[in-house]
Symmetry: C2
Subunit: 216 residues, 2 copies
């Protein structure tokens, strides 16, 4: 297909496609004359992925290039795809060596095998540092609880990653990170409202009896 049809198929304006071609985010088509090139289904897939990365993903062109580079360098395991998407998505926070070491110790305590050079460990380090500075009580207990829950959920998350092609996997992981994180935060707030509604006037005595009943 020609560039005009590629534009129609993907909803990406021709000028934008030409920009992606210049930036080498999109491979050049097969040249069929001095002014025409032929594009394939692979170009459609790549453009759809670019829309996700630069759109909901909020990635810069250089970060998107990182993700695409990981995709284009076989072999691509889900692990490698995760590494590239997490590294590219950010937020990229600067943390002290001491804080990062603390985060590494936590991850080791949970027995997790995480990626070297990933950005998530720095995000964990920054968040833990802020909570410690704020004097959040029983932080270790709360973190262990969430770590355990997230690890169980992650098994299902990873099982849900499409494995028929790397492009589909990246698309799923970008959306499943960028858009699911605010969803999970909203669910947590609503769940807390429900949990609080079950014990509207909490005294120490009432709290114990509520806990005994358990939470279904």
């Amino acid at each position: 297909m020609q560039i005009s049809e590629l534009s129609l198929r993907t909803g990406v304006p021709i000028g934008t496609i030409k920009f992606y071609l210049r930036e080498k985010l999109l491979a050049t088509g097969t040249v069929i004359s001095a002014t025409r090139a032929e594009y394939s289904e692979a170009h459609v897939d790549r453009l759809n992925l670019l829309r996700v990365l630069l759109g909901v993903g909020g990635l810069s062109v250089s970060r998107a290039r990182q993700v695409l580079a990981a995709l284009d360098a076989p072999p691509v395991s889900i692990h490698e795809v995760l590494q590239a998407t997490h590294a590219a998505l950010g937020p990229h926070v600067a943390v002290e060596e001491r804080q990062q070491q603390h985060a590494r110790d936590l991850v080791r305590r949970w027995g997790w095998s995480v990626l070297a050079g990933g950005s998530a460990i720095d995000q964990l380090a920054a968040a833990v540092g802020a909570l410690e500075t704020a004097g959040f009580p029983e932080l270790d207990v709360v973190m262990d609880r969430y770590a355990l829950a997230m690890r169980e959920l992650a098994a299902a998350d990873v099982a849900g990653v499409p494995n028929e092609c790397p492009t589909a996997a990246v698309r799923y992981l970008v959306i499943g990170t960028v858009l699911l994180e605010p969803l999970i935060a909203a669910l947590r707030r609503l769940a807390q409202e429900d949990a609080a509604a079950q014990r509207p006037r909490s005294t120490a005595a009432e709290r114990h009896s509520t806990e005994d009943r358990g939470v279904s």
Copy 2:
């Protein structure tokens, strides 16, 4: 104590304290002369809370005023404190009526009792809308999984809220929302990396055998 000692005790500059007094975020002290007022421990508590709200909480003065108003209007249950903090913290997103209805239906399906006029339901509605637009597969299954997990975690969250005084509860909830949400996002990413590491080259066959082994 005088304003200078109040400033020393809390680390809040005198000029800032005067600003809070003018904005009625802080009650005026007991006037003891034309130029002097006496402040109490209640002022220290209030200033410490204000630092959390305006600092890590990132609240505007008018949003902070909302939280304080909820605190000052007895009776204060954890439910009411949650309502005020969630409403004040935002993000405040505009959603269509249809999207909000969808979010309400979800919450009803989970059997949750949530707050009328809260902001979390709009956040849920916006996130669900974005995921649907992006064509995220099996969204309902994933949401149910996370909703169930968050509800279990919320019971422990709410049990951990200090209930000896409303100020401590608000402080805990603000920090536990603003600072724990990025922590949870980081934990989720790291947990996914570990889950993916357990199945580095996922084929359909391998995936099944990995699932059979379960996740500890």
